[in-house]
């Protein structure tokens, strides 16, 4: 397929790997922020292609994984309201809250529909005018504009029964929180490609300036990721951290202005609760006052008990990059993709799911 196959060429990959090995003298730690990158890195064996001087850590870039238990509990409580139809992307269905999941609620009779797009969620609302339709809005800057577009459309077309529970989160703000916490020492960040399609490269500029950490934006094919690592290694070896775009066919420095205008017109920033990280100021998005009627948080009141966390699950540590799935005692034992214990195993972008699928640690069958 065009724009995919060319970026999987093994001869070009060897060339890049060779240059990285020549350039890399310092031992460094890079974080791939995005769960999509974690999967691509393991799937394509990128770790085996880069020299031992380059250590790689997964970050918090899995929207389903970082959703706090308290927020999941709220979504579950909304699903229990009479007449309500919940619409949501698929991954969140199986993530356990304190004592249930959307999937269990559906088995118990709640009306929960998995949609591919907010366009479909809006269609449900149009087709069922007598019932409230709530979309569980989970995602980063990549997805938030698509949710904003649906809100705006519902507002303009007076689709009064459409509501959004906005659990959207912002990337640069949580990167700052991680860097401020300083739990792991990072030399460079592989910045998320599709978040950056929307926000561009400027919002990361504080990272090299204030923290002396290198940044490069990467696409998701093996050559994209190797090119990004090469760019980061070069910045670090020179001692000149910067923000560079290693995904030029997708990302412009200014991002997608139209998408950002939509997002900023519909949402305002607020604090958000991240699994494993806690409350980060300015890292969430809530509906602006003029869209209040469409805000599920305002339109429905549900009582939610204080959250209970999952015993033994180390998703919080994994999200911060301070542990790998191999350090979780439940990994591959009690916790597998068939019987997931925590969100990092449920989500298609979770680090635990990636390690299970591609990591082939010694205790996996076939290793």
């Amino acid at each position: 397929m065009k724009f995919i196959d060319e970026y999987r060429d093994s001869r070009l990959a060897r060339g890049l790997a060779c240059r990285i090995a020549q350039r890399s003298t310092k031992t460094i730690t890079l974080m791939e922020f995005c769960g999509g990158h974690t999967h691509a890195i393991l799937r394509h064996g990128i770790r085996q292609l880069v020299p031992r001087t380059v250590e790689m850590r997964s970050g918090p870039g899995c929207p389903v994984c970082v959703t706090a238990t308290a927020d999941l509990d709220k979504a579950i409580a909304l699903a229990r309201l009479p007449e309500v139809i919940i619409t949501t992307f698929g991954d969140i269905m199986r993530v356990p809250g304190s004592c249930s999941s959307l999937q269990k609620e559906r088995a118990n009779g709640a009306d929960v529909r998995v949609v591919y797009s907010t366009v479909d969620a809006l269609e449900f609302a149009r087709a069922n005018p007598e019932r409230p339709v709530i979309f569980i809005g989970i995602g980063f800057e990549t997805t938030a504009p698509t949710i904003a577009a649906a809100i705006l459309r519902a507002h303009k077309e007076r689709i009064e029964n459409f509501h959004v529970l906005s659990l959207n989160k912002l990337t640069p703000q949580v990167m700052k929180a991680l860097l401020d916490a300083g739990e792991i020492k990072l030399d460079g960040i592989i910045c998320p490609g599709h978040v950056s399609v929307i926000i561009g490269s400027h919002p990361y500029e504080f990272i090299p300036r204030d923290y002396r950490v290198a940044c490069a934006i990467s696409g998701f094919e093996p050559l994209d990721i190797l090119l990004c690592i090469d760019t980061l290694v070069e910045q670090i070896e020179r001692g000149e951290p910067a923000v560079e775009i290693a995904y030029a066919r997708g990302v412009k420095p200014e991002g997608n202005k139209r998408a950002r205008q939509l997002m900023e017109g519909v949402f305002e920033t607020c604090e958000a609760d991240w699994r494993g990280i806690g409350v980060v100021p300015g890292s969430g998005l809530r509906l602006r006052a003029e869209y209040r009627r469409l805000d599920a948080d305002k339109a429905f009141s549900v009582n939610v008990a204080p959250p209970r966390e999952i015993m033994g699950c180390r998703c919080g540590d994994i999200i911060r990059g301070s542990a790998t799935p191999l350090e979780c005692e439940l990994f591959t034992k009690a916790c597998t993709p068939e019987t997931p214990v925590g969100p990092c195993m449920v989500s298609g972008e979770g680090a635990c799911a990636a390690y299970y699928q591609y990591g082939v640690p010694p205790d996996l069958p076939g290793a």
């Binding site: 724009f3 060897r14 870039g61 577009a149 030029a248 139209r258």
Partner: protein, 75 residues
């Protein structure tokens, strides 16, 4: 969840476009990329085009990668 795949725009109908992805036809929203035109490739995320793929930039990256590979073969 931030997954986005290349899709080729076949035709446009207001805010929507007919696209083709690996031979499969799909109707998508181009509300976020009003500049998209037939023949363009876009990055498709949850039913929306989020960017028009820069073909010139794609070529340029591949040229750079070729240069790097040919240099490493000399060694």
């Amino acid at each position: 969840m931030c997954l986005a795949v290349p899709a080729k725009i076949v035709s446009i109908d207001g805010d929507y476009a007919e696209t083709e992805i690996a031979g499969v036809k799909r109707r998508i929203s181009i509300a976020l990329t009003p500049e998209a035109s037939p023949g363009d490739y876009v990055l498709l995320h949850t039913g929306y085009a989020i960017a028009v793929i820069g073909e010139a930039e794609a070529e340029e990256t591949l040229t750079i990668l070729e240069e790097i590979a040919s240099l490493s073969e000399v060694h």
